[in-house]
Symmetry: C2
Subunit: 309 residues, 2 copies
């Protein structure tokens, strides 16, 4: 792996716009991705906040194709490609690598609980061996509150040793700073890039030598998060961090995915941005008004919101 | 729903035989299914113990096609068709219904945790509305230890009211007899057939008016389990139940799926029956010997084992 190919900065698990009939809308998806790129946010499409696991592999392939056909740069893409079924993970990972995506964000298989590190090692190794492409760069996705399947330090060490080229880094969505800190100390010096799982830990992660963050709220508050990434050595960094935290907290009073979609619908004037797929449920009217008040209170704005409609 | 179409008895989440390269082996799959049917065990193919979520929809379709092409009766099939992505659930459910399968066993979407009953209701309703076939009979799959997504009494009541024809029953794999008992009391009298999730609760379930059980160990101990189902009113029923429990306990000392596969490999002489897909791991030699001793101690036998090779 050369230094030139290493990703850093702010990425967002891109929200997936659905039509009223619940099919993905590639047009708004491309618009949203372009809007993110314009603000220097990279595209971690098909993450948890993208409702990626609520979509079939075929639907995700089509959305990725739409981005490529629109001319968006794969060098700024880190699509999520992990799945319970390894053939699904292999298919989407292959497609991403062949398209030139700079990396992929990979969940472990998450149906069976309490599985061994040996089993998880085999899962990742199976995908890497099947993709068989030296361009593959995997960011391991550690999100035990949702997946229930932790990616342990022992597993990372073993994977890094066996596949030093393919294992590029991780997203730590444990919500546990002590875990992120341990990863930074043990693995970042080996060229394993640690991304915090939310901007709450962005400044701490950068101070610890980390690569940036991959964060849900990158979808709605991109400029301010990118600003901290670019100026984290400035004197106002802690003040910037506090402001990011306040905006995130304004969203986090509500179910996060429906709340972010409601905020985009509100600011863009495009009501179908509220649509989520089951088992998620959109905010009800009362929640929408409360969200708007919560966001107004922290001075939330969406620049160029009309371009998202 | 007419009484004639209601399923009862013993079903097994059919173990999926894999080749050394980890592809499913339809030949041994058909043999195993035929062996189960010969012993009056119905085919809940694509369950948890089938490693169903470790297979793509395409792989499952091919295995189902293999059963149909081999002339096995769809009237004895209740394939698992639930998935995180509703398009996947819809595709496999449609195929099963069109093939004439007597029922489908349906997991809720299981990636997002802590979702609402409203969201789960919409998930099942979406599948039912999309399949749009009066032959559809759904058995709800309640397995919170693995899926982490419980199917509550409130959700069942709402689904039964909205879709009395399509909602046919459930498999209760909570491992909590009080839950099964509550389901039997509240829903079984409405024609909602409650299957226990293991033979440990078979006798209790039948005494409570339940329909039978859908059990992993149906793969390896079918005759004795079916015998209890057929003779549960006899005086020796409790003694039969105790014997079933002892055999199950002999397996349960080990990871269940690899242990059942190892037992079939041992008795049939076909070593590749041991193969599991990541993230599962096959038993090591020490575990295999310990399993064999454990099974010998309870007098475990596999009738006509050569037919599984």
């Amino acid at each position: 792996m050369t230094t030139a190919t290493r990703l850093q900065g702010i990425f967002s698990p891109v929200l997936t716009p659905f039509n009223a009939d619940s099919t993905p809308d590639p047009v708004r998806f491309v618009k949203h991705c372009r809007w993110l790129l314009d603000q220097d946010v990279g595209l971690a499409a098909f993450g948890t906040n993208s409702e990626a696991n609520s979509m079939s592999v075929g639907e995700k392939r089509k959305l990725l194709d739409a981005l490529l056909e629109a001319g968006l740069p794969p060098s700024r893409m880190m699509p999520g490609t992990g799945a319970c079924a390894l053939p699904d993970a292999i298919e989407l990972t292959k497609r991403a690598v062949q398209a030139g995506c700079a990396g992929v964000l990979m969940l472990p298989p998450f149906y069976y609980k309490g599985v061994s590190d040996e089993g998880l090692y085999r899962a990742f190794a199976t995908v890497i061996d099947a993709v068989a492409d030296s361009r593959l760069r995997i960011y391991l996705y550690h999100i035990p509150p949702v997946s229930q399947i932790p990616i342990t330090r022992g597993l990372i060490a073993r994977l890094l040793k066996a596949y030093p080229g393919a294992i590029a880094g991780m997203k730590d969505s444990s919500g546990d700073w002590n875990n992120t800190k341990a990863m930074l100390e043990e693995f970042q010096p080996q060229g394993f890039d640690v991304f915090a799982g939310s901007e709450n830990f962005l400044l701490a992660n950068l101070r610890g030598g980390g690569a940036g963050c991959i964060t849900a709220t990158g979808n709605v508050n991109p400029a301010a998060i990118v600003q901290l990434f670019k100026t984290w050595k400035n004197q106002d960094a802690d003040a910037q961090q506090a402001k990011l935290d306040a905006t995130r907290a304004a969203f986090a009073k509500f179910p996060m995915i429906p709340a972010m979609k409601a905020a985009i619908a509100w600011k863009s004037g495009r009501a179908d941005w509220c649509t989520v797929r089951p088992p998620l449920v959109e905010l009800n009217s009362e929640q929408q008004f409360a969200l708007q008040a919560s966001l107004d209170a922290v001075g939330f704005t969406v620049p160029n919101a009309a371009s998202l409609a």
